[in-house]
Symmetry: C2
Subunit: 435 residues, 2 copies
Amino acid sequence: MTLSTQPYKGARDFYPEDKRIQKYMFGVMRNVAERFGYEEYDAPILEPLEIFTAKTSDEIVGEQTYSFEDRGGRKVVIRPEMTPSVSRMVAGRRQELTYPLRWYSIPNLWRYERPQRGRLREHWQLNVDLFGIDGIEAEHEILLVADGIMQALGATKDMYTIKLNSRKLMNGLMRDYLQLDEAQAHKLSRLIDRMHKTDHAEFVDQVGAIFTPNQHEKGLDKALLSLLKTSNWDEVSLDASSSEALKKIKQLINMLETSGITNVVFDPTIMRGFDYYTDVVFEVFDNNPKNNRSMFGGGRYDGLVGLFGVKPVPTIGFGMGDVTLQNFLEDHGLIPEPNTETDIYAVLIGDVYDRAQNAISSLRGLGINVTVDSTGRKPEKQIRVALKKQVNYVLFIGESELNDGRFTLKNLYSGEEARYDIQKIASIVKDYKKT
Amino acid sequence: MTLSTQPYKGARDFYPEDKRIQKYMFGVMRNVAERFGYEEYDAPILEPLEIFTAKTSDEIVGEQTYSFEDRGGRKVVIRPEMTPSVSRMVAGRRQELTYPLRWYSIPNLWRYERPQRGRLREHWQLNVDLFGIDGIEAEHEILLVADGIMQALGATKDMYTIKLNSRKLMNGLMRDYLQLDEAQAHKLSRLIDRMHKTDHAEFVDQVGAIFTPNQHEKGLDKALLSLLKTSNWDEVSLDASSSEALKKIKQLINMLETSGITNVVFDPTIMRGFDYYTDVVFEVFDNNPKNNRSMFGGGRYDGLVGLFGVKPVPTIGFGMGDVTLQNFLEDHGLIPEPNTETDIYAVLIGDVYDRAQNAISSLRGLGINVTVDSTGRKPEKQIRVALKKQVNYVLFIGESELNDGRFTLKNLYSGEEARYDIQKIASIVKDYKKT
């Protein structure tokens, strides 16, 4: 039987040129997160199923997880998201950890769904979380980090919009203003969450179906629909808690604008799919009219750590997936030209593999990345391979060079070549790497 | 219900202090691999089961895999090793890739087994593979890389031994010298592979059981046992193929010794567990008498790429697991003191969070990693947290500092403190980072 060379459906092979792009993105994420004092952590990709059934959405746990029984009969799942794992870890050392706690991770996550643009079965997702601050400073900082990554990747403010909302505000509205019970409110949240992916007429129908005849008569479904598009929230009569939540959103927008983040708006249609959010939620949208959709988001989830039997910790965080992000960077021409890590391609002339070892090992000792062509092919063929691998320098090593202790270094792009000793070769290549 | 805070059995949570050690080890691995011109790749953690049933050992596939059916009825497995995946990827682009191909990856791998010291259900494993060279230069280079990583981690030659053997030699011996058929040879390989973990008397019994009465009479089982401990291989009468295989091992040892690797020996008991090895195999042993065991290994597997319906590629590689390696580094005192990535802990005095943003953002813009204490606690408490988080500098930001544009920077370890502007603070901290 011949085996297929295809990767599992909805998952990706990363050939070196693909891996370089991923490493570039992850490198920027790490730099920015650490610039704000966040520390990297990690957790196993397999988790007990129960930590997801608690507060991740029903759709994900019931239909989209890779869950199974292990050989010992334990129900396990390949994690579909990282938030329950990080909450578990914080809860596990609730007392010993020093707050505020700033943590980040770039886990590999899996969901069983139909692969499509921007959504695969497997992806990687930066998770940034701030534990222990209940004030608005936490919201402000976490959005600075999210925006900082976008900026560091070369995105400009016109390319994306940060949309804010508040679960507290929406819960208050649904309870007091729209008079919905909990089940109705939960259903409505789901509908609003999918609103931008749903045809508008269909959305109106679905919303209508949630309200009782009595609520219809009072015009509450119409009230909702107009709320979702009003720009004049001052005229909406809010209960105290909702009013406070809205004030917080406005204050946050002010703080962000003062920090130079002007591409931020309040948008009551932002709900986020997870059940664990408790207050501010946000999503970052691609402004590209051809691809105007949410790229990533996050929010406050003050209750999740407490599910593990310890005192709750106020928490806010976000998750930024690599697939959507890479699509965005590609569409906006923001992927930099990837460079090979190899500095020198050593071309061996004749049967000199053994004798060439000293020179090669000295170069490596001086911090130079050297590939040796040990195939015994003709030098012309070796140079062609160096070009194909986009290595900048070839170094010729043959009998005469070895006897002389000086080797010809050729810059394949400028065509320059000259003969130097090993120290000089290392310093030329290092200077070139700096430019 | 209260959820458990424990990770899944046999898997690890990486709190930031654990993750730093892992990042240190992986960083060294990456540096050395790239020093030799290897490029990083990656593949999905889920693979079709069939690519492992072909040539991974029966024990692993039948008893130790995390395999299950996905929601579409496909048989999948969380990879127990990386070699089939990388072979699949090379086969998938057999024609387009440029040889020799030097690839490395640090995948996460899973095996269902009883967790014990040095062996968990989950681990990470550096995989380094060289495709396209059938000459001994490939064996030499791959061992230089393996040894280079040990050296770069601070290990000295007296701490570990590289043991070499050849599957070709052993297959020839079992076929011609011991007159075993294929099934007997396969069983014997397995026994020899586990020999060092088995009581000697038991091993002798198990070996005895493989030979037929007729073979016993000829003394072939005794011949095997004495072969496994002989130091005088020149007296063993070998067929042509075995003799050539032994010569290759001796030549390789010479080449390695010339390259300064003197802690290398021939050991006919080294078999390696996988069925796909075809020629030279090796294992690196910890010399610590309390823990004298194999840490990692590899070998040549020229046939695996060909299983995917393309022309085979000569290949040699090794896998180096993080659990055993970390145990080794700990035992030998080779884990360096981990440092936090945070440079400055900003202590806010009074209600200055908003006004402090400019100074903090300027420092970050200058490349300094700054954590802000936005809790509003007393400065003394904030300093205690900075100490606990082992940040070297605290920066005091209060009304008077903000009016002045100059801030007090304190080195928590030396006790030195003075007031500077932002530029000067950044340059002091950068100088400190260099030391």
